[in-house]
């Protein structure tokens, strides 16, 4: 810890009892980006699930919209220490997308328009805990927050919820993604404060 500057408080933040360790509450929705914001028109957008054998399952925008829709209300925890509670989304549960997929893989690598990647255990994408979402707070998901569609895996740190998601590759062996190859944790459970490798 550095030398305290008297009178400095920083951004308004409170550590509510229902927050993971080291997190503070924010009311706004900070925009984080590691590169230029991709602009993906929905008429060319597609989502591809690729199994460990190379089999591909594709959905166009229209096909995604025709699938059963969920409206999760979830808390978000960003590894940069802000948390935002009670956010409302609409999208398709990954259980629905995995329905027709035959796989023995244990790991998944999500990839995005713009080149971003992040890895997750396949189990964490199942069981009603992960979605491909296209609507935030009642409106179309803005590009800066990952629109037209992003992954939403709220029980892990938010970098796992890949913005501008384009597909998921199923893998037999874990393969670290963009931030995971630069020091961040392979799993990223905010409640166990798994920020960096080895945490």
């Amino acid at each position: 810890m550095g030398i305290v500057s008297p009178g400095f408080q920083g951004r308004p933040r409170s550590s509510a009892p229902d927050l993971p360790p080291g997190q503070y509450l924010t009311e706004d929705f900070p925009v984080l980006s590691a590169g230029p914001t991709p602009r993906v028109p929905t008429d060319t957008w597609e989502f591809v699930l690729t199994t460990e054998t190379g089999a591909e399952h594709r959905w166009s925008w229209a096909e995604l919209m025709n699938l059963p829709q969920d409206t999760p209300t979830v808390d978000l925890h960003c590894v940069t220490r802000w948390s935002k509670l009670g956010t409302t989304w609409q999208g398709v549960s990954l259980d629905t997308l995995f329905d027709a997929v035959d796989t023995d893989a244990r790991y998944a690598l999500a990839h995005s328009y713009g080149g971003y990647t992040t890895n997750l255990p396949l189990d964490d994408l199942r069981g009603g805990r992960a979605w491909v979402v296209h609507t935030y707070d009642g409106g179309p998901l803005p590009a800066e927050h990952g629109g037209p569609a992003r992954l939403l895996v709220p029980h892990l740190y938010l970098w796992k919820s890949a913005k501008w998601v384009r597909g998921i590759r199923l893998l037999v062996d874990d393969r670290p993604g963009f931030w995971e190859t630069a020091g961040y944790h392979d799993y990223g459970d905010p409640w166990r404060e798994q920020r960096y490798q080895g945490d």
Binding site: G2, S5, P6, F8, G10
Partner: protein, 251 residues
């Protein structure tokens, strides 16, 4: 002034700085005079990182350009108060003389001007982007350099011009220094032309032609720097002679 002459320098650590004095520059900008024990000296155009720590350990750090040559262990930065900012409001409104703030620097090996350079210099400032450019103007004066300097300074209104009095004085007294202004919202009385964003005509009439091989320094918000750098390259200035420093809305 002990300053690095190559890319190789000592690893950096945080030092404790204390506020000595503050000067009001505009309604939203102040120059802060800091005492930094052990300060190694710096070059015009370099910056420092300032870091604030709250009692609960929360930290925030921002970069600020050094506004002029060091006076021993005293350095100065000019801080624009960013609305809703986190660090600049503290520095401008709360920081009290004698209180500690951590400083890391000097940093920057690219956006610097050395007083032994003789190529003509074009400085283009957008808003508080004038700060590192003013450090060059002041270093030129202090070194008795005769290198021809031109400064184009874009500000929203006359009230937003930082260092207004000193610039007026230097434009009169420092031989070979020309200063031109562009106003984006409101121009002073008697000003010829309308308020406008900086454009080709401004850069063309107040800059140097490319065949004089000037060094160009452009500093301001990202959009401003983007515009001016494109104009300069479009006029035929080689990319490597156009040095830029963009700053974001991170206050």
């Amino acid at each position: 002034m002990a300053a690095p002459t190559t890319g190789r320098v000592a690893p950096l650590t945080w030092r404790v700085a204390r506020l000595v004095e503050r000067r009001i520059e505009t309604p939203t900008a102040q120059t802060l005079l800091l005492d930094v024990p052990g300060w190694p000296g710096h070059l015009p155009g370099q910056h420092v990182d300032l870091r604030l720590t709250a009692p609960d350990g929360y930290q925030a750090a921002r970069s600020y350009s050094l506004a002029g040559p060091a006076d021993g262990e005293r350095i100065e930065v000019t801080v624009q108060r960013v609305p809703d900012g986190e660090v600049s409001p503290y520095l401008v409104d709360t920081w009290t003389e004698g209180d500690p703030v951590e400083v890391r620097g000097p940093v920057g090996g690219w956006f610097v001007w050395r007083t032994d350079e003789t190529a003509p210099v074009l400085l283009v400032a957008g808003g508080s982007g004038v700060v590192p450019l003013m450090a060059m103007v002041r270093a030129r004066r202090a070194a008795g350099s005769r290198t021809p300097f031109r400064l184009i300074y874009s500000a929203r209104t006359p009230d937003d011009v930082i260092y207004a009095d000193e610039l007026r004085r230097r434009a009169r007294d420092d031989q070979g220094l020309d200063v031109a202004y562009v106003y984006t919202r409101q121009a002073p009385d008697g000003w010829r032309g309308e308020p406008h964003r900086i454009g080709l005509a401004d850069v063309n009439s107040h800059g140097w032609p490319p065949d004089l091989e000037p060094l160009c320094y452009v500093c301001g918000p990202t959009g401003f720097v983007e515009t001016v750098a494109d104009l300069l390259v479009g006029l035929g200035h080689p990319t490597r002679r156009v040095r830029t420093e963009r700053f974001g809305p991170t206050g």
